[in-house]
Subunit: 501 residues, 2 copies
């Protein structure tokens, strides 16, 4: 149907900004005022590509920022799309998306202002995301399904091995992917049944009052969550109070429903789990410390509270610094892990993080690096290193995007061969961040089950009811925003921003 010949004829850019700074959502020790924003592109084709029902298919892609500077990223997206995408044949691009990645990152002049980092990488991600979105839509599949249905030989071709083949070669990657083919189907069935495990970051933004934190934690427990992440690093006393509050709520069985099932204790964070309820805390410093500061602050104030990991303890580029912090925390009791990656700017940085044993948890972002191709490279390197991947999703649209990445990881890359744990729970070793902001702006929003998991493919059945907006199967990469949201939140001419002037 939609694999017919078409060319990318034009594109539309949206500089979308939500006034989240008003509510304190998204505040942490580094990011004290955030207007969650999206630098957004829609790719149009000529002739228009259509699905079976005649709906016109467009490629929607975005990257996430926190406000000012979103226009700079939009300018970079415009330049990339204008120079490198307009006029190209979609099927030719789709037939070798590995080559397409090099096309988008290989313009010598534009490469200079990165290379492969910062604004130009964020812009590359939006373009690549848009292409993969259209690619998946033309195949009437969610992105995760498009990728996991590929043969290992096809999937490996998506990966840019340039600069990382001293850590993993194409042949190693291929062998790895082939081995994971075994019970892929079974894994897909199971994850559709019970969903993909989520953790919540929404209970403890620094801008929230103590009362709000307690209330939100209790609500999160009722919503099925067992993993909770808190922001730290602005003030030791406030950190201890806040973590203490959350700990007291999540360790009290009276706050849990009667049919509550403790999380699988055999996961890597079992040792840091609450002995009563099995719940797990994580903390996030958002880069506020120098290396030695991080070690001192953690030892004195945070380690005794036994979180699973400290996220972004220092500068995101500091491979050796993370390794030093991790060694220091490994030497303490209880052992606290180190997580990072939402600001890790490319596959070369992750390669080194894994080569030097800097991380207990790899936190990829769907938009920080140059899009899906680089993410796949990191998934494979993390799998080879035996480090779990728990993507970053705190922002607008990121949950919608990263659930695809976690599913690709679980189904095709790192999924275990044994699926059920001894206690009967599903053994999905990783856990995906969830924040409950701004999903209403998306055509295919994520949904969380009563088990605190991301719903997967549950809405296929309802498709017949709603041909105009096919659920799930037609979702592509799921970041398509509603037209009316553009009308309100496009900056500076959307109706919300106009009304503020």
């Amino acid at each position: 149907m939609s694999t017919s010949t078409a060319k990318i004829s034009s594109f539309t850019i949206h500089d979308v900004r939500f006034p989240t700074s008003l509510s304190g959502d998204g505040t942490d020790a580094m990011n004290t005022e955030c207007d969650y924003s999206s630098a957004y592109i829609v790719l149009h084709t000529e002739p228009p590509l259509k699905d079976d029902s005649g709906r016109v298919l467009e490629g929607h892609g975005m990257t996430f920022t926190i406000g000012r500077g979103n226009d700079i990223v939009c300018a970079a997206i415009r330049t990339l799309a204008d120079r490198l995408l307009v006029g190209r044949d979609t099927e030719e691009l789709f037939s070798d998306m590995g080559k397409t990645y090099y096309l988008l990152t290989g313009d010598p002049q534009l490469r200079w202002i990165g290379p492969e980092k910062g604004v130009i990488a964020l812009a590359t991600a939006a373009c690549i995301n848009a292409l993969f979105d259209l690619f998946a839509k033309t195949r009437n599949k969610p992105l995760w399904k498009l990728i996991t249905d590929m043969k290992p030989e096809e999937l490996v071709k998506l990966i840019p091995f340039k600069y990382i083949d001293d850590f993993i070669t194409p042949q190693e990657a291929l062998d790895w992917l082939r081995e994971k083919e075994g019970n892929k189907k079974r894994r897909e069935e199971r994850v559709k049944e019970i969903g993909y495990p989520a953790y919540t970051t929404s209970v403890g933004w620094l801008g929230y009052s103590d009362e709000k934190v307690v209330r939100l934690t209790k609500e999160a427990i009722r919503d099925g969550f067992t993993h909770f992440k808190l922001k730290v690093g602005s003030d030791p006393e406030s950190d201890k109070t806040r973590i203490g509050l959350v700990k007291s709520v999540i360790s009290d069985p009276r706050n849990f429903p009667e049919n509550y099932v403790k999380p699988d204790p055999s996961t890597t964070r079992g040792k840091n789990a609450d002995p009563n309820t099995g719940c797990v805390l994580m903390v996030d410093a958002n880069q506020v410390w120098s290396v030695n500061q991080a070690i001192d602050y953690m030892r004195e104030h945070i380690v005794p509270l036994s979180p699973w990991f400290i996220e972004e303890p220092t500068a995101p580029d500091d491979v050796l610094g993370h390794a030093t912090i991790r060694r220091a925390l490994k030497a303490g009791t209880p052992v606290v892990g180190v997580a990072s990656g939402e600001h890790a700017h490319n596959r070369m940085l992750f390669k080194q993080m894994l080569q030097s044993g800097s991380l207990d948890v790899v936190q990829i972002d769907a938009c920080r690096m140059g899009g899906l191709n680089e993410v796949l490279a990191v998934l494979l390197m993390a799998a080879k290193a035996g480090v779990p991947v728990c993507p970053h999703a705190g922002g607008v649209g990121l949950c919608e995007l990263v659930v695809h990445l976690s599913l690709i990881d679980f189904l095709a890359v790192s999924g275990p061969s044994i699926l059920e744990s001894e206690t009967g729970g599903l053994r999905i070793p990783n856990v995906l961040e969830y924040v409950d902001h701004l999903h209403e702006h998306f055509v295919y929003p994520v949904e969380i089950s009563e088990r605190g998991t991301y719903e997967v493919g549950r809405r296929d059945e309802s498709r017949a009811e709603s041909v105009e907006v096919p659920r799930d199967a037609g979702c592509g990469y799921s970041c398509q925003m509603k037209e009316e949201s553009f009308g309100v939140y496009d900056w500076p001419e959307g109706s919300y921003w106009k009304s503020q002037r």
Copy 2:
């Protein structure tokens, strides 16, 4: 005179692009078509600051790109200046430029699209450069003199120790700077007498014919150069031919003037120098290789030609990769060093390069990191690690900028306590890149002496003759471009670009 109260009232942005791709200047294995460009800002004050002669002083700052994308950097400069500089008191900014650095890099929303890397770092550099330019001009000093006249206590305050104090602490830096005070005056006198050593990259761009390379090498010898850098990595045969050509020219004493003095053999590159003439070759791969490719290519094709170093053998972010390559080359004969840094995006990357012993030569860029403050941090870290700094100057305006950095390095940071070598030459251990393009567009262009050195402060004497354009003393950071150059090369409305349409 000019330390009077004024506020930054407005600024002008110039997107300047020179059509260097037409001549093949600046071509290498990665950057196959370069239009040398400058993302440029001029800071204006109210009331206008003036020098003794009544000339209005402005702060000129720029960063270097190679064409497309220069507008994106200009957009980022505009945002930074508009939000963080306009309305501020100049003397307040100058009184604590360390704090000013954190002001310019600390906006939480703009930080997100870096952090401290890529477009936003390039833009930060332009803004910081402009401020330091104005600061120096108000003191009627070249930037290098402004900085090296500071007491160690003042200089150390300029340095952002955040994220690097696990490698060097403020106290260590202070102690280091105090120790270098000793013969600073004597070093200044000497470097004014004989200039700062330069090497040339202008003989061997990949876009040049063999005949042109030979002719330019002979000319460079007559101009006093003894160090020559060639681009490699596009094709082994062409590399060998090209290097062979240059080697045959520089090893033949007949090509040298009668009064030729061989360079000091006691420098780090002495072992790689030509036994006949003492001349030194360097090669530059501009990131074309993966780690293992770099090792294999070097061993097979380049090491036998005995260059002093290979520059940018792989991805600029790959600290561990550079360390691996360096170890491999150290194990060979002759030993070839590893150099990198023109794309090193911040002080945290350089910290790790030095911590892991990845480099024989540190190549800072004046505009790639967030301006002078970060450069000073790197100078100190490199001095502590005992690694020489040879800044990157291939581009437009970079020679004008980096000579200040090399002088600061030599006079205040890494200068040796013994100045004369046994053979009578000046023992300035480092050597600064020089390319002979586009200097005519600058109000205070660098000049090369007949000894192949950068002239330093030689033009002070002529100042009385030309009050309108005071030579040297009023040059600030030397990147002030001529108004008429903006008129011709501003993109897309300058007269050159208009005439091309």
